[in-house]
């Protein structure tokens, strides 16, 4: 999916809760705004992942409670809603508690993430005390009320069967950094995708990934290259063709990969449950993607 031209940058300060809404919390210092490349001034050594997801600007505002607790609000404006959803999935573990704030609000330990429209919002407390949690929720809700536009999730997310991969255990990936943070691979040949999605099934301990390429030819080229590279790799074993567009390989940790091509998509299942199970999952993905297209 191409990143569509973005609208003019928003005035992010307009989303901040009004003073009279803050109750026991008080804004500390003036809000800081970082645009484009200036993000490196705010996030030294970690800005690249945001840029991979189409970062445009971020507003940072600190708050302090009457009891001396502090929290930080970050409003990230991204290139489009797919990018906002993507960085949200990157930052959320999926192990938190769902809260009704923005889109897909998740409260985890001492922080809260949500996305809305083409914005991704993170509130981080200095600890996980009840006062902080209340503050996170309170400020998040004030912000949410001011953000009117909703965003659409990327289409590729729908390719993974929800009965196996709940939404909060999916990560939407836009590039190499995001992928390598989520998975390690035997072959780099598989990279060069336009977008990807990773789904995790905690119960059966397996994962599936779907890579979308710019064309069917590109997808097939990557598939064939990956097979060729794996055939020569000392780290790979048990490389076998399971059909004209389907192969399996085992890595040095004993993880079994099943790789199947369907048009412009490559589907992967990483599971030790066997070929039949992997085929079932990959068939579901193929059907889902065919319907979506």
């Amino acid at each position: 999916m191409e990143i569509k031209p973005s609208p003019p940058l928003q005035n992010l300060e307009a989303f901040l809760p009004d003073k009279e809404q803050l109750q026991s919390w008080k804004a500390e210092n003036t809000p800081q705004l970082y645009k484009g490349e200036d993000l490196y001034l705010y996030i030294d050594g970690g800005a690249e992942i945001y840029h991979e997801y189409g970062f445009r600007q971020v507003l940072v505002q600190d708050y302090k409670s009457a009891a001396g607790k502090s929290l930080t609000l970050e409003i990230f404006e991204m290139a489009n809603s797919e990018c906002a959803f993507g960085i949200y999935t990157f930052k959320s573990s999926g192990k938190g508690k769902a809260v009704s704030v923005g889109q897909d609000g998740q409260l985890e330990d001492y922080y809260l993430n949500f996305w809305k429209g083409h914005f991704q919002i993170t509130l981080t407390g200095s600890d996980s005390s009840p006062e902080i949690i209340q503050g996170l929720l309170f400020i998040a809700k004030s912000l949410d009320a001011k953000m009117k536009s909703l965003g659409a999730r990327p289409l590729l997310i729908e390719a993974l069967p929800k009965e196996w991969f709940p939404l909060f255990r999916q990560k939407y990936i836009k590039g190499v950094l995001g992928l390598q943070n989520s998975e390690s691979f035997l072959s780099r040949s598989i990279l060069g995708f336009r977008e990807a999605v990773v789904g995790v099934n905690d119960e059966k301990r397996f994962r599936s990934l779907v890579f979308l390429y710019s064309s069917t030819d590109e997808c097939r080229r990557r598939f064939q290259e990956a097979q060729a590279v794996l055939g020569k790799s000392a780290a790979a074993r048990n490389l076998r063709n399971l059909g004209p567009d389907f192969f399996t390989v085992t890595d040095s940790q004993g993880r079994v990969f099943y790789v199947r091509i369907f048009e412009d998509c490559l589907g992967l299942a990483i599971t030790n449950e066997g070929q039949e199970f992997a085929s079932k999952i990959l068939t579901l993905i193929r059907h889902n993607w065919a319907k979506l297209k």
Binding site: Q32, Y40, L41, I43, D44, G45, G46, E48, I49, H51, E52, T72, F90, K91, S93, K95, E108, D109, Y110, Y111, T122, T124, S126, D127, G175, V176, L177, Q180, N181, R188, L191, G192
Partner: protein
């Protein structure tokens, strides 16, 4: 360029010369073999103190290595490099650890204890370390990012990096204590003592050289970044590493917020490779999985295999 000075010689000269002109190349690594070699007679390579009193743990870890006096001689000018990445929990060196190190240095007779940084006052304020600087009466100097403030250091043994540009004023010190927090990094999975040295290097160079021009699409970019870190470490060698592994983020590093784990440990060692390998294990990783740890081990900057490291763990 490399000053082939052994550690014991270095300490002798430091004591004799104080802050003199010979210091310019003091931290330029030229030691042959493992940094543990200089301490062969000692019993502990890597000291680990666990508990909940971070200051006491820090003091104990250093004590297990022989005490701060072993590293900081009377009249020394000490440079401390804590991590002030962000104010989110588990992303910055804890103030209690920082304070404990400052006090140990002073007690050992340091003439000066200084911090230099091209990050902003907000970073130091947010991490709570600016307050410690003030309370303990040491110096924090914020250095503008202009090229003129950095000294070019050729990397003759570099695989991918041919030059470092290190803060000029760094070379005015006798002792360098590297004080990162161990944590996840969205690029190379782990950041510890070795990656922390990027805070000494010109930020412009960090941006331009540590990433490939097409980093967003080049799958080899992360490995390139790791190789640069290993190369940088061939020319700068900390006198001592003290690592915060008390409460650290396991995901979404280096900035966070992310999943917070609590190993509740402080680690001290002269071997940065062993230190990083040990700290990576706290995040469920192996040293060999991290390209810059493996690269530094291959360059004989330290020992990656923890079975070969004499580790002493103590509860405080």
């Amino acid at each position: 360029m490399a000053n082939k000075i052994g550690r014991r010689d270095f300490l002798k000269k430091s004591a004799a010369a104080g802050a003199s002109a010979v210091l310019a190349n003091r931290f330029i690594s030229g030691l042959a073999g493992s940094p543990l070699a200089a301490f062969a007679a000692d019993k502990v390579d890597l000291a680990v103190a666990s508990g909940s009193d971070y200051a006491a743990m820090t003091a104990k870890a250093v004590e297990l290595l022989g005490g701060m006096e072993k590293f900081v001689r009377k009249g020394s000018r000490v440079f401390l490099l804590p991590n002030v990445q962000s104010k989110h929990p588990g992303t910055f060196t804890k103030p209690d650890i920082f304070r404990s190190v400052i006090r140990m240095c002073k007690k050992a007779g340091a003439a000066e204890v200084n911090c230099l940084s091209w990050l902003t006052q907000q970073h130091w304020d947010g991490a709570g370390l600016a307050q410690v600087v003030q309370e303990e009466g040491i110096t924090l100097k914020l250095i503008p990012r202009d090229d003129v403030n950095f000294k070019s250091v050729p990397i003759t043994d570099g695989k991918v990096l041919q030059e470092a540009k290190i803060l000029n004023e760094f070379f005015n010190h006798d002792v360098f204590i590297d004080m990162p927090i161990a944590k996840n990094h969205a690029g190379n999975k782990f950041t510890g003592t070795m990656k922390n040295l990027m805070a000494l290097n010109s930020p412009a160079l960090n941006r331009a050289q540590f990433h490939k021009p097409n980093w967003q699409t080049d799958p080899a970019d992360i490995e390139h970044l790791d190789r640069c870190i290993a190369d940088l470490n061939t020319v700068i060698k900390p006198t001592l590493c003290i690592v915060d592994a008390t409460e650290i983020i396991k995901t979404n590093g280096p900035m966070g917020p992310g999943e917070l784990i609590k190993p509740l440990r402080v680690i001290a060692s002269v071997d940065r490779v062993a230190t990083d390998s040990y700290c990576a294990s706290l995040l469920g990783l192996k040293g060999e999985d991290i390209v810059h740890i493996r690269g530094a081990h291959e360059k004989k900057l330290g020992e990656m295999d923890l079975k070969k490291v004499r580790i002493r763990e103590i509860k405080v």
